[in-house]
Assembly symmetry: C2
Homo-oligomer: 444 residues x 2
């Protein structure tokens, strides 16, 4: 019997736990679910024969060593900064370790020791990062195998709302950490376009979205992610002339969001004076320059639209010009904006989320340029079984199974870019409803 | 005989040294001028009977202690971060100390000890900060003395070019540290307007300049400085409803400069790849989003003007769209922009600079609102005797004289806001050609 230790029983763990429990008997697994909250862990295990829920403090060194010692495989669903604590213990005790998060520099340091002990520390095993790596690598390897030369790679992902829930004027709600949504894109976005390096500052990031469309779901827009260039070495496509990774939003979102960026509403570097007693209207007034016109007029002027532009409805719908109080003590502009948005952008019980992903490849073969567009979309079922939790949890669960079945022989710090990982995972994901559709066409 | 030690013989020290040497005999001063470069120091002392030039390393503890011990008063013209080293030694040896720079937190720490030893550490004794404090406090104290209630205080200053040198299309050249000009305004500008706190982010800072005019010099525009609010406590006007400090530029400058801000050209947080081999055109292309139009068209689009807008001439004049190479290894966007600007904005031997300063006060007295506008301008004579060096050096020199004549009895860390300082300094400055003209009018 193999023992799987899962640390963290939050929302993103739901589908992971359900999959592992479902396949526990046939594979003879014991699933040990650890969380600070025993109640939360128990609510996920639901008294399953092959499951154990228990209260656990990962920062307790002895507890950590003891629980790792009982496991054959450890899955960390902790916040990103806490993975390494657990991974270090896994290396020490020669136990494999999985996480859905980006490889941190602290994690990377463990590579050598993990390799020398034959331990696998596999990260970036969720959806983005995760499924994006696997589905992109599959096509990149196919293009290379048939002698094609890759000219352009664009990869987009978005956590959005299903059309049935996407009814507000922004076509958006928080399906993910609101703070991360509010501060997304700060710094400079770097990518490469036709051999030219590009550096898009935050104040331009939402001003010129790319456009794309998805089967069944229509048009979307895309703003570039902060770092597209590091994917060249991860995917072994160092010399590609064009590479861009981006985030998908419903059409019209970026122009409106750009208003908050331009006004400085997403800044979290300073506290606003007496922020608790500001009304929403005074909050906006704080960022507008001096003159006698109304808040609405100056707001419109700052974002370079006329006061009767339809975009203004988006801001009115948020009550941005109302006399509601923020009620936030010691608030940064970003924190107050988050509060204003949460009033309207919080999921209702019957809201369903939507995960969309698209890769676009341009390559040259036999003198002909071709384009492949590979698209995936998945709608959540309810607020427990979200598309996000499903697409984050399943790759983790499937890789856990493959490791315990000795079908993966990698060691050290890894991400899922090897065929021995992506082939079986993508194949099984397809049977579980998470699949890509490909179009291929000649490219001018 | 009193000995004055001046540390630092750079450009800003010229007028200071000349004043002190000129008045050395009548006051029986010895002026000891210390600099890393003996040659530079000698070129400023010019063999004067009452002057001594010598080579000096302020970071050498023994040298520092020895030179301070010989002096009755120490004037630091070092870079801002190096003042404290010298000020600490002055406190230890009970010698008065002057600097033209803002009071740093390290300097502020010395306040208690300096007071207990009866030592004066007077800072912010140049033009801005310096003459601005003195000239503003004079009027603030006058308004208070006659029972007026101060409603609004706006204070502007600019280092520009005399009309005879202000002939390029930008009406601007570097008369001050180019790096500081390129990165000016980053962060958030805070001020207060009719009781409302304002937070203007960098991407809005140059988009909505205020306008003003100066006697003889015509129209200027003003962008807000980073921190206007701290002046409330410095000037003892805590409850003033409107306060704004700003930087003056010639009309049209801010809109054009804003293009560099919006595109991210002033960013110094990252290195551009292969920056040495970028042409100016490629440099600009790096910041422009994807599409098929020309660099000029997309540039114009990004700054929301049409391609034939007259503002585009300013950028063409800088050769911004040319194939000149940057030649800057490991360049940040800001460093490369600075290089491009230095090609065109470097002072020619016969260029003269211009210092402009203006305070605007609105106050209420006997139910009537009144406005005072107080303006000062000073043109440089040549590149050694710049307006900047003159207006920075003279307040320092005059305060040095007042201290040695025992006419100032302040101790501790100070800035020149007390009548015993500003009255005699402003009076003597007037005889030296640095004076304010006041207009007073009823205000709507």
């Amino acid at each position: 019997m193999n023992t799987i230790l899962i640390v963290g029983a939050g929302l993103s763990s739901t589908s992971l736990i359900e999959y592992l429990l479902k396949h526990a008997e046939e594979n003879q697994w014991q699933v040990r679910l650890a969380d600070m909250s025993l109640e939360l862990a128990e609510s996920k295990i639901k008294g399953h024969t092959y499951g154990v829920a228990f209260s656990f403090d990962v920062s307790d060194k002895e507890e950590r060593a003891l629980e790792v010692s009982k496991a054959n495989l450890v899955i960390s669903m902790l916040p990103p900064t806490m993975h390494t604590m657990l991974a270090r213990e896994c290396v020490k005790q020669s136990k494999h370790f999985l996480s859905p998060s980006y490889v941190s520099s602290e994690m990377q340091i463990l590579d050598k020791k993990a390799k020398s002990k034959g331990v696998l520390l596999m990260n970036e095993l969720g959806v983005d990062p995760g499924i994006d790596h696997m589905s992109a690598m599959k096509i990149i390897d196919e293009i290379k195998a048939k002698g094609g030369e890759l000219l352009s790679f664009k990869s987009y992902c978005g956590g959005l709302l299903s059309p049935s829930s996407s009814t507000n004027i922004w076509q958006y709600k928080f399906t993910w950490n609101p703070r991360n949504v509010v501060t997304a894109g700060q710094g400079v976005a770097t990518y490469k376009d036709n051999g030219q390096y590009k550096y898009l500052p935050y104040q331009q990031l939402f001003a010129h979205p790319l456009e794309t469309s998805m089967p069944e779901y229509g048009n979307f827009e895309v703003y570039p992610n902060r770092d597209s260039l590091s994917y060249r070495s991860l995917y072994d496509i160092e010399n590609i002339p064009s590479i861009l990774r981006g985030t998908m939003r419903r059409s019209g979102f970026c122009q409106a969001w750009n208003a908050f960026v331009l006004l400085g509403c997403t800044d979290e570097s300073y506290l606003m004076r007496d922020s608790e007693n500001l009304t929403y209207r005074e909050y906006i007034e704080s960022f507008l320059p001096y003159d006698e016109r109304s808040v609405e007029e100056r707001f419109a002027d700052c974002i370079a639209v006329s006061i009767d532009d339809p975009i203004m409805e988006k801001f009115k719908w948020l009550d941005l010009f109302s006399d509601k109080k923020t009620g936030i003590k010691e608030g940064t502009p970003a924190l107050i904006l988050q509060k204003i948005l949460e009033e309207k952008w919080t999921l209702k019980p019957d809201d369903k989320d939507l995960l969309v992903m698209q890769h676009q490849f341009v390559y040259k073969q036999d003198g002909q340029q071709k384009k492949i567009i590979s698209s995936m979309s998945y709608e959540g079922i309810d607020q427990e079984h979200t598309a996000m939790a499903y697409t984050v949890g399943l790759p983790m669960a499937i890789v856990a199974k493959l490791i315990l079945q000795s079908k993966i022989d990698l060691t050290g710090v890894q991400i899922p870019v090897a065929p021995q990982v992506y082939e079986p995972v993508l194949k099984e994901l397809e049977t579980l409803g998470v699949y890509f559709t490909e179009q291929e066409e000649d490219f001018e």
